[in-house]
């Protein structure tokens, strides 16, 4: 066994095999990139408003409490489908109003309740954030999450 399977053979298998899997992975990633752009997120165009919304989302580090498509922290609810849960996915104006109403009511200050901070967000940014969340919600995520609870 040790004569046939020498250290240098083990090394060559490692290098050769890894290279093979890297090539396969890069090819599938390229295909997935196309699929995301052309299919799964093609339901709505990415506007300046959505771009601004994503910046607002990032600036306030929302991901470190919430999940978005299931990724993030597990301290606060999933927001990838929040517009569906609120029943405002088809209505930009209502989406903005509900989001604004919710965020302006924070922090609730209720004892024993998890607190969402108060964020200084302009009207334009709030509209952007609502559009960003509506846009994320229309992504084809292979029917995840299983229900509206997120």
């Amino acid at each position: 066994m040790s004569e046939i399977f020498t250290k240098s053979r083990a090394r060559n298998v490692f290098y050769g095999g890894s290279l093979f899997f890297v090539v396969v992975f890069v090819a599938l990633t390229a295909q997935s990139h196309r699929y995301i752009v052309k299919t799964s997120t093609a339901g709505a165009p990415i506007t300046e408003e959505i771009k601004l919304g994503k910046e607002v989302w990032e600036r306030h580090s929302c991901i470190n409490c919430h999940t978005l498509h299931g990724e993030g922290a597990y301290f606060a609810p999933e927001v990838g489908n929040v517009m569906t849960r609120w029943g405002v996915i088809e209505d930009p104006e209502m989406a903005y109003e509900v989001l604004k109403g919710w965020m302006e009511a924070q922090p609730s200050g209720i004892e024993g309740r998890r607190q969402m901070p108060h964020f200084e967000i302009t009207e334009e940014e709030m509209r952007g954030l609502a559009e960003f969340l509506r846009w994320a919600d229309q992504t084809n995520t292979q029917n995840w999450p299983p229900n509206d609870a997120g």
């Binding site: 399977f5 250290k7 083990a10 090394r11 298998v13 490692f14 095999g17 890894s18 899997f21 890297v22 396969v24 992975f25 599938l28 295909q31 997935s32 990139h33 699929y35 995301i36 752009v37 799964s40 997120t41 990415i46 959505i50 994503k54 990032e58 600036r59 306030h60 580090s61 929302c62 991901i63 470190n64 409490c65 498509h69 990724e71 993030g72 922290a73 597990y74 301290f75 606060a76 609810p77 999933e78 922090p107 200050g109 024993g112 309740r113 998890r114 607190q115 901070p117 960003f132 846009w135 994320a136 992504t139 084809n140 995520t141 292979q142 995840w144 299983p146 229900n147 609870a149 997120g150």
Partner: protein, 448 residues
Amino acid sequence: MKYQSQSVAKYYFLAAAALFGIQVLGGLLAGWIYISPNTLSEILPFNVVRMIHTNALIVWLLLGFFGAAYYLVPEEAERELFSPKLAYIQLIILLVGTLGAVGSYLVGIHGGREFLEQPLWVKFGILVAAVIFLVNISLTALAGRKTAITNILLMGLWLLCLLWVFAFINPVNLSLDKMYWWMVVHLWVEATWELVMAAILGFLMLKLTGVDREVVEKWLYVIVALALFSGILGTGHHFYWIGTPGYWQWIGSIFSTLEVIPFFAMMTFAFVMVWKGRKNHPNRAALLWSLGSSTVAFFGAGVWGFLHTLHGVNYYTHGTQITAAHGHLAFYGAYVALNLGMFTYAMPQLLKRAPYNQVLNMASFWLMTGGMAFMTFTLTFAGTIQTHMQRILGEYYMDVQDQLDLFYIMRFGSGVAVVLGALLFLYSMTVVRREVVKPGPAAVPAGE
């Protein structure tokens, strides 16, 4: 310690140890906020606490890896480090960047991609530090003896530094953003870091057990081959629900199931080497950490990873406390314990003392490992209930969370044990100079 320049590792290990303290204290505070949510909520919200907890972890693990490389590459290459001065400059850049990042988080300046929240200037600092490191360590290795341990270590470190480039790529399209984000996050912890882990573990086994180098190195190539063959396409288990194509559900399920194998191989490797070893090394604590690391990594990364990796299961468990349970035990076993094992092995040599802190150090191993195991169990139970109530019955997130309090209280208790263990470790590593329990009369033949 055979080479003078290995001593730069000491400062890397001390800096890493300090950040380790900050990391666990941040974790304890986050755990407390779960059971008393109004704590500091106006001045230090949960998201900031969590950023400090995760970022401190990542940076101290990297400092530990860099320190380990500076310690073991001179010994493997049989020569002094190319430039100790560059190593110190690199450390200063990393520490300024870390303090800058923590400071800016506290005043609310940060990015919003999970784990990559560092301000842009810090990201560039990390890039510069990485380049300095690669130059320094590669020139040392190239000029000296080439071994499989340095080969694998350098390959892992080169690739992880190259993947850092994806930290700068943030497409406006959220699904693309997520896909490329995983090129850093997954391909670090489930591919390139495994190479670093295997190399360090191999080095420790070589030193602690005295098994023939040929045997150790052949094992190492097999382990890292298994790690990359499964881990690269295993990235697919993150591509189930983020807008990527459906075929990833099959690729991800199959290859991430195979990801259990390299962790099993690493555990087997460690135990077989100890069994075959002829050397009775006086640093028993380092041996305990090495065996403990590979075992807990197998359970945390391997078993708990497999628990929720099949796409049919993950459809329901994705983004619940199950993920948190797996994340905690996997990081602890694979990377925290391994780094602490390396500190335990190297610090007595760097401080030019005999291993002197065995009892306290080993007590800290059991305290931390017991605490982490209990934390994993409580979070797994919490996640199971959450999955059922929220994903099957469709109850709202906060309604479900309100019923998980008992588990979060137990999690906090286990967190206290981990913090006590961590503080005991740090105390035994930096302060204690004498063995607290007098060893028996039987003389142990000294190892290397």
